[in-house]
């Protein structure tokens, strides 16, 4: 364990904890962004340049902005009004956390990845990555692309001006008024 890894891990953990405990939701998202950056740094330390930079591009450049926009566009406001100590929330949260951790560790300990030796990073890893994405893993890639397209169309539908709901009525009544005058 190198010094760099310890520093990265500490920053990542600290910002993740801050993202869960801070009261202001915008601060939470900004802390979560630091966590994303920390994860990207871990990828970079493992030699996965492409994945690390993609993590920065997608998560810091897009996902965090998306979360911030969603936060500002919805009605709740950015200040959290939950009670700080609510036993029901804490107990259910802890149970869900333990269950999630258990399932993931079970899956990791029983996976075949643990038996096989981790291959050395190849010099031409980028080409290998592209080739395997478009041959071996082409189906998951296409499914994800389809999912994203559906999400895009859905977002565009939501953002369409609601012509039939209230705008037409408003302009209609306005025209009528001016006509009457």
């Amino acid at each position: 364990m190198s010094l760099f890894f310890i520093i990265t891990a500490l920053i990542t953990m600290a910002s993740a904890i801050a993202a869960m405990t801070l009261r202001n939701l915008v601060h939470c998202v900004l802390c979560l962004t630091v966590t994303f950056a920390g994860i990207a740094l871990v990828f970079l330390q493992l030699g996965a340049e492409f994945i690390g930079f993609s993590q920065i591009l997608v998560y810091i450049g897009a996902v965090s902005i998306l979360m911030l926009f969603a936060l500002l566009m919805t009605r709740g406001g950015t200040e959290l009004t939950l009670k700080r100590w609510d036993p029901v929330h804490w107990i259910t949260g802890t149970l869900i956390g333990i269950a999630g951790f258990g399932v993931m560790s079970f899956a990791i300990f029983n996976s075949s990845l643990r038996q096989s030796k981790i291959p050395e990073a190849k010099a031409d890893s980028l080409h290998a990555l592209g080739n395997s994405l478009l041959s071996q893993y082409v189906l998951p890639l296409e499914v994800m692309a389809l999912l994203l397209t559906v999400a895009l169309i859905g977002a565009a539908l939501i953002a369409l001006p609601e012509k039939n709901v209230f705008r037409k009525n408003a302009s209609f009544s306005k025209n009528q008024e001016s006509g009457n005058k």
Binding site: L30, E49, I56, L57, I60, G61, L68, L72, R167, S171
Partner: protein, 392 residues
């Protein structure tokens, strides 16, 4: 070649003078130092150049009081900005308000580290250089949001949202048009991209059908990405208040401008690297002139082009801006990607020239004709203002 070798030899000599444990840090420092100092200085000169040129376009003198011909104007500006009072709103989020200009400047500066300034003159020669460039550039959107939200000011927040919406929309054609070059070169490393254009002016990517359209799309998206005229809706000094910079004063305000300037240089350097042959001379005979001179020459001509555009073009309206990005830039960049694919498939002969050129030509004229027929020139319809009774 000799100039680059000389610089590298000087750096090696200086690194060897340091104690052993400091050498990696010192080497990184010596790689960063020229970039930071030269682009800081270049930014100061560019502000003067911009004001002089805009003055010339608008038939006035521009700055001419400080120093010979106004040459010391940037120094005066810097001193003025430094001595101004730094006002932070009482209700502002102080930490975020403070971090925003720094984040913007850092993300702009980091992009310069993967630009090859000459043969082997590159601060960070990584396999995924261009991905790094766009990844750190994406962090600037977050910084703009921090500036807008941290000011605790409605106008600043709205300005930040406007700026982010614009940057996200234009990032797609920006990356797609850069992707066409990467597809043909077959590498994400910028030194490979430059190496592919080493044979003189006819090997430059701008002189291919896909490169020509890609370069124009890239330049237009660059203008939008760095919030320059005609896409300077985010700050629009004369109409809207300065957007996300509303609550900034003094040196923080200057930092925003510096970040904008450095981002402009970084994007221009990337344009020169991707499409204009990077640090290579247009003719092999001229290659005795050092590479950095060529790169900075290309960079400066692009900056001059941007100033010229700023002096000539009117500002776009926000809805026109979005429409242009999604209805014109995005389809054209996808078509350009297909054209680059045809080029790769046919391996760049006469057939590739004709087919990909024809595709781009037909797509450009056909699509712009369809769009111009579809757009009826009607007064703008207001969605929210109407109900408040503003349009009456």
């Amino acid at each position: 070649m000799w100039f680059e070798e000389l610089l590298i030899a000087i750096k090696h000599y200086l690194v060897l003078q340091m104690p052993g444990s400091l050498q990696p840090v010192g080497s990184a420092f010596l790689s960063c130092l020229p970039i930071m100092t030269s682009f800081g200085g270049l930014f100061a000169l560019a502000t003067l150049l911009e004001r002089k040129m805009l003055g010339r376009i608008q038939n006035r003198y521009g700055p001419n009081r400080v120093g010979p011909g106004g040459l010391l104007q940037p120094v005066a500006d810097g001193i003025k900005m430094l001595t101004k009072e730094d006002i932070v709103p009482k209700n502002a989020d102080h930490l975020i308000h403070f971090l925003a200009p720094l984040g913007l400047l850092v993300s702009a500066m980091l992009g310069l580290s993967v630009i090859p300034f000459g043969h082997r003159l590159i601060a960070l020669d990584i396999e995924t250089g261009i991905l790094f460039f766009f990844a750190v550039g994406a962090a600037s959107e977050l910084a703009i949001f921090m500036a807008g939200w941290g000011s605790r000011n409605k106008y600043a927040l709205l300005g930040a949202l406007r700026a982010i919406a614009q940057m996200i929309s234009y990032e797609i054609p920006l990356i797609l048009s850069a992707l066409s070059v990467l597809m043909v070169v077959g590498s994400l490393s910028l030194s490979d991209v430059v190496q592919a254009q080493s044979g003189g002016i006819h090997t430059w990517h701008i002189f291919t059908p896909w490169g020509f359209l890609g370069c124009i799309l890239f330049l237009i998206s660059t203008l939008a990405e760095i919030n320059r005229s005609p896409f300077d809706i985010p700050e629009a000094e004369s109409e809207l208040i300065a957007g996300h910079m509303t609550e900034y004063s003094g040196f923080k305000y200057a930092l925003f401008f510096m970040a904008e300037g450095v981002a402009m240089f970084a994007m221009c350097a990337l344009t020169a690297t991707l499409f204009l042959g990077g640090y290579h001379a247009p003719f092999p005979i001229l290659s005795f002139i050092p590479g950095p001179v060529w790169l900075f020459g290309k960079l400066t001509s692009l900056v001059l082009l941007f100033i010229w555009i700023r002096g000539t073009m009117p500002r776009l309206r926000a809805d026109q801006l979005m429409e242009f990005a999604w209805k014109f830039m995005l389809p054209m960049s996808v078509v350009n990607l297909i054209a680059a694919g045809i080029w790769v498939a046919l391996d760049g002969g006469v057939a590739a020239w004709i087919s990909s050129g024809l595709l781009n030509f037909v797509a450009y004229f056909g699509w712009s004709r369809i769009l111009s027929q579809a757009s009826r020139f009607s007064p703008r319809t207001y969605r929210y203002a109407e109900e408040a009774g503003v349009s009456e």
